[in-house]
């Protein structure tokens, strides 16, 4: 009977458990979890602030999940991996493994700003605890300053809307969501956020803090009661690099999620694996990717062979009812449609669809995503239909009949 140890307790770990159990019902699984709660849906903490969900509903799996899958959930933080005697260490115990998965995720990156140490009410926005402490501190009169106009900062702003007096977001970038949107698309999303009362200071950031006010690089003064830093995240890779497992920005993995050390796998925000869109190894810190990497790692850990070789960056993000769905890479020839409240941009290169941005009308977006991930050449598709509206009519009759009439 194999001993499996998983370091980390979020989505990649759950994927890993389900991957292992798809192939091995017997082996012993130990999951070491730093946060003292079973896996929950971290991206939902902004919906918690909006009161659209609660911590019970946010549980990623049912309460019986760990028992049903015969997983021993241990709330201890892993401190060290010893690859020579194949054991991991916490402060309280030693856990030997036959197969190990490092799914330690990422942590908020908080850059140093002069004077930040004196600010009492400062928060990150990543965990349930973050959401709870933020919620306890805010009131109707709070002025909130958020540093970072990325996914986390903006979702935080949406979550706080209506519960505080004002929200200002600053970002060094000249556009919001700079990692997933181009200028034009970002403007459309920004307009909608502004319509809902959120103020932006773009191309500007904090130069220094003076208790309850921030002096911006532009010289502007912003008064605030509450500060949220949402600049970005950094992968938790120290225990891996300390154990001489190959790391760059993240822990390097192959398409089986195997690291440079035999029997040690990695998945999720800490793993740097193959990115089909850029044809490089990179960290794609998104929930679906973490699950699929974890699942793939689990299957391989259990002795079967599985590859995950078509990861692409993709995001579904919405604010106040306006949704943006994006995937792939934005290069090559562009097909564009634009109206007041919607944008469609498709990017074509080497006879293939390689990326898209859809805002507003997002119906059937997954057909675009699958065309990208499956690298289907345009020559075998009806590209006029593809451009107009994604539907199964883009495929030829034979393929469509297989999709609608076969077991898929």
């Amino acid at each position: 009977m194999k001993n499996y140890v998983i370091i980390g307790g979020s989505v990649a770990s759950v994927g890993c458990i389900e991957g292992i159990r798809s192939a091995d019902k017997e082996g012993k699984i130990i999951m070491l979890c730093k946060e003292k709660v079973p896996a929950y849906c971290r991206p939902l903490i902004s919906y918690y602030l909006q009161k659209k969900t609660d911590f019970q509903k946010m549980k990623y799996r049912s309460d019986k999940f760990y028992q049903e899958n015969n997983v021993e959930l241990i709330y201890e933080e892993c401190k060290k991996i010893d690859t020579s005697n194949k054991s991991v260490y916490t402060e309280k115990g030693i856990y030997p493994y036959d197969k190990l998965c490092i799914a330690t995720g990422s942590s908020p990156f908080v850059p140093h700003f002069k004077g930040i140490e004196k600010i009492k009410n400062k928060f990150c926005f990543m965990t349930q605890d973050d959401a709870l402490s933020l919620e306890k501190t805010i009131d109707k009169n709070s002025d909130v300053l958020i540093i970072g106009a990325g996914l986390i900062g903006l979702k935080c702003a949406e979550g706080l809307t209506g519960r505080v007096k004002s929200i200002t977001i600053c970002d060094l970038s000249t556009r919001i969501l700079s990692s997933i949107l181009d200028e034009e698309s970002a403007k459309l999303m920004q307009k909608n956020l502004e319509k809902n009362g959120i103020k932006f200071l773009l191309g500007d950031s904090v130069s220094e803090f003076n208790n309850d006010s921030a002096t911006m690089l532009s010289g502007k003064q912003i008064r605030f009661d509450i500060l949220v830093t949402a600049v970005g995240v950094k992968p938790n890779i120290d225990i891996a690099s300390d154990a001489s497992i190959e790391t760059e920005k993240g822990i390097i993995v192959d398409n089986n999620m195997l690291t440079s050390v035999p029997d040690i796998y990695s998945a999720g925000d800490c793993a740097q694996g193959y990115n089909m869109s850029s044809d490089t190894k990179s960290i794609i810190a998104i929930w679906p990717n973490a699950y699929m990497q974890g699942y793939c790692a689990g299957v391989n850990m259990a002795g079967q062979i599985k590859e995950f070789d078509n990861a692409i960056p993709m995001n579904a993000i919405g604010f106040f009812g306006l949704h943006a769905l994006t995937a792939g890479i934005y290069k090559g020839k562009v097909y564009k449609e634009k109206s007041e409240n919607a944008i469609k941009k498709l990017f074509f290169e080497d006879g293939k669809l390689v990326g898209y941005i859809l805002i507003g009308n997002i119906e059937n977006a997954g057909i675009y995503t699958s065309v990208i991930r499956e690298k289907i050449p345009l020559s075998s598709l009806n590209s006029n239909i593809l451009k107009k509206q994604p539907s199964l009519a883009v495929f030829n009759e034979k393929n469509r009949r297989k999709k609608l009439g076969g077991v898929v």
Partner: protein, 142 residues
């Protein structure tokens, strides 16, 4: 397991499946009350392209990418059926981002909606299948 399959050569493009789906899932006994004047939002939809028409609903994939991608744990596979827990869904549309068939759609509530083979209403056979006048939509083992 039994699934819904669509034979496009038999599809007349009559959209009855959409109305039967909307009615079956409305929870309203009277068909007229359920449908008259209502803008329906069914879990099956007809796609038309030139002379071709066919119905699309959830394929209940063997390895459903929507379930793997769901960020709220709302989508799951139970006895082969891809199910949605509307209580957990927050309508982020990640499933719409990944479904290769365009079978998941926003609903009139906060959550998304998709075909669950009529397991949650009192119809014994999926309503779209039962009402298809040309047997273009079938419910069978393949």
């Amino acid at each position: 397991m039994k699934r819904i399959y669509v034979n496009e050569e038999w599809c007349l493009g009559c959209h009855l499946c959409e109305y039967n789906c909307a009615y079956a899932n409305s929870g309203i006994k009277d068909m007229v009350k359920a449908l008259k004047g209502a803008e329906i939002n069914p879990k099956i939809h007809i796609e038309e392209s030139g002379k071709i028409t066919y119905a699309v609903s959830c394929r209940h994939c063997e390895d459903p990418i929507c379930v793997k991608s769901c960020i709220s744990g709302a989508l799951s596979k139970k006895d082969g059926i891809v199910c949605i827990d509307k209580n957990k869904c927050i309508g982020c549309f990640t499933c719409i981002l990944v479904c290769p068939y365009g079978a998941i759609r926003p609903s009139d509530e906060h959550a998304v909606q998709k075909c669950e083979l009529c397991i949650n209403n009192s119809v014994e056979m999926p309503a779209c299948v039962k009402g298809c006048p040309n047997k273009a939509i079938v419910y069978e083992e393949r």
